[in-house]
Symmetry: none
């Protein structure tokens, strides 16, 4: 089993000041994970010699692989070369190939090169230089073989470090860890089951499957069950994942799993089901104001299953377009199962689609009453055979209530397609 430890160290005052999120750390983590090298820590520091040295020493002490980005430019606040040479106790030398490439870079752009740029050609003695075909500063790898430690230093801009990482760095790491991919993750994405319920259902599996780590990641209304397997061969890893997957699916309501892929959305699943069965859908939206239509048409090729929808925000619009009866509106109120039902059948009739989904609710922050509080939402589904309605009470702010209502409407469609 792989016991390599790895961390990422980002430099840049703009990161610790919160101007941008640290997407370099994110992208590097994904790439390292794909190579079977799990990341334990991310650290970001500003362009300051002392804090950078503190962070680099800690990283060097506790991890086998340190991947650094940023601070390799030609200016005062580019400190990486100097700090690395201090912490790793090695001199800097001018790399002839890097000098040549920096000069050529300026010649190609037909602008004179400021002498200060050549500082970027300085690399630690004994390192493996990583030449930069997209900018000027080379990166480098210092490999301390006897300590089983490595630092990989990359420039900050993504168009510069990505080709370095995907080329020579990946090659270096694969040569060092010739076993290949040892870690793999599978994600079971569930909807409309509370995190605590899933936790109870699979609690006996936590830590009980050798080589497998389970984690739960909850978002409002949704829980991802993350299964990570770690073994000495790829086949073993895949076997571990699949057997853990089966054990989990036996414990939970497997119908609540809407996707089994990282980042997969419920609308992607709905789109696939609709396209495969050559079905169409239309929407009649009140409180979601177009959000369900938007999400259904997020998917390329959505015109195959989505033709039209009505955003009936006011009572008048519900009557005028969808044929909701005024008497029903007066008797039950716009936020009621009865109105949701009429909205769905009206939309089905107008559109001729196989399914029509309706949503009417109170997204807040105002407009709630004790009997009909903020977060109360009714859903209708009209098919050729039946009209059904559902009631849900969501918590959270306006945005969250609307997102969860859209999720729920899409889930109604998903389950209808599965029957």
């Amino acid at each position: 089993v792989n016991t390599i430890t790895c961390e990422i160290l980002s430099t840049g005052t703009e990161i610790v000041q919160g101007l941008y999120p640290d997407t370099n750390a994110q992208m590097l983590s994904r790439r390292l994970k794909d190579l079977g090298i799990p990341v334990q820590y991310h650290t970001a520091v500003g362009d300051n010699k002392d804090t950078l040295a503190v962070a680099l020493k800690i990283a060097h002490n506790r991890s086998n692989v340190v991947v650094m980005t940023g601070g390799l430019g030609p200016t005062e606040d580019d400190l990486t070369r100097e700090v690395v040479s201090r912490v790793y106790n090695c001199g800097l030398k001018k790399d002839a190939q890097a000098v040549k490439m920096i000069c050529e870079h300026f010649t190609r752009r037909r602008i004179p090169m400021p002498e200060s740029n050549l500082i970027q050609a300085m690399v630690p003695e004994g390192c493996i230089p990583l030449y930069n075909f997209m900018g000027t500063a080379p990166g480098f790898i210092i490999h301390e073989k006897e300590k089983n430690k490595t630092i990989i230093t990359l420039p900050g801009p993504q168009r510069e470090w990505i080709p370095m990482f995907d080329g020579p760095v990946t090659e270096f790491l694969m040569a060092w860890f010739p076993t290949g991919i040892l870690f793999e993750t599978l994600v079971l994405r569930t909807i409309n089951v509370p995190e605590s319920k899933i936790n109870d259902q699979i609690s006996t599996l936590f830590g009980a499957i050798p080589g497998v780590t389970l984690g739960l990641l909850a978002k409002p209304g949704k829980v991802d069950i993350r299964i990570t397997a770690n073994a000495s061969t790829r086949e073993e890893t895949v076997d571990l994942l699949q057997s853990a997957r089966k054990k989990i699916l036996a414990c939970i309501d497997s119908k609540s799993v809407y996707a089994e892929k990282e980042d997969a959305t419920i609308e992607e699943t709905v789109a696939r089901l609709l396209v495969n069965q050559r079905l169409t859908v239309s929407v009649a939206e009140s409180c979601t104001g177009g959000l369900v239509g938007k999400r259904l048409t997020d998917i390329p090729g959505s015109s195959a299953y989505f033709k039209e929808g009505i955003i009936a925000y006011s009572n008048e619009a519900k009557i005028k377009y969808l044929g909701v009866r005024e008497q029903i509106l007066n008797q039950y109120g716009a936020v009621s199962g009865e109105v949701a039902s009429e909205m769905a059948s009206g939309m089905k009739r107008l559109s001729g689609a196989d399914y029509a989904v309706s949503i009417t609710g109170i997204a807040g922050p105002s407009g709630g009453t004790p009997a009909k509080p903020v977060g109360l939402v009714y859903f209708g589904l009209a098919t050729k055979d039946y009209v059904s309605t559902r009631e849900r009470r969501f918590t959270g702010d306006r945005e969250m209530i609307r997102e969860r209502a859209a999720d729920f409407a899409l889930d109604i469609l998903r389950r209808a397609c599965m029957n």
Copy 2:
């Protein structure tokens, strides 16, 4: 001058695995900077007791203020309470108010509460609890007065921690650092002007106003001009900001400024203009599939100005609902100024709203031709006096084209309201 040191510690396996960028750290850094507390380090660790304890000890040793997010949920991999109690050497106790709030949270949603949820009511002895009005887990502050050290522990979801931070945490920090706010930032948010143009227009102001730093932050179609002022009194800081603001507005097209507040959206401005003038709007959407309706109804109280919309994705829907003539569709194609114009006038007629906006375009990735490439979008605006159309060519993927088209439609409305 303030010599406080501060760092942010994020927990979550999804962060170190690279599933998401660490936007909590980013947003916290901005807020701390606005309070005059600069951040030196960001650290992120997975949901693992040992790495979390290592990171927390380091942070506790080197910084006065540690702000932590995540790991406060009810499940096995929520470790923050336990690790904090170990590192800070304090017991945990059940907080009665937190128990009450967690129970109420489930009662409101009318679902039974799994017993395991009450673990979230455990907080360190002697802490200041931070109650959670948007979720279940409370955060807490441990203030070690004699050591001049504080840890602020917040839940991971933004809708939960933002109200805690902006309320009691900010109050606490301001009481502790009574020097007050020394840094202030003002943001001029512009739309539909290229970054390079704005850069040229204000280039002479960069570094030319003492005490003021200018920065540009570009997103597709939008550029934020960030003005940061730093002085020894609050009044001076505000004066600096206002005089820089005036200088900038004199250099750029001031009509392109749609908001003057961090994170303010164009739909908020449109909503304010519509409400102030008691105007209403309706939408006829093709390629945006409901996105413009969704964004117009993101704003609380949107029923004052938004009553209805049609998602006319197919040609048939454009004919059936909006009365677009078949001959016009055949002659010019669905993606044309002529069809955008008929969609807008049809929607105006149907709805009786003061404005009707229409959008028809090719969001891609397929469906483009040399004459009508992916990214080509037409817009219509119908008012009581006229119908106008616009053509734009956007670059980017499907999501970006749709977002930019919605931005542009909202900007058409904004400018119409300003005339």
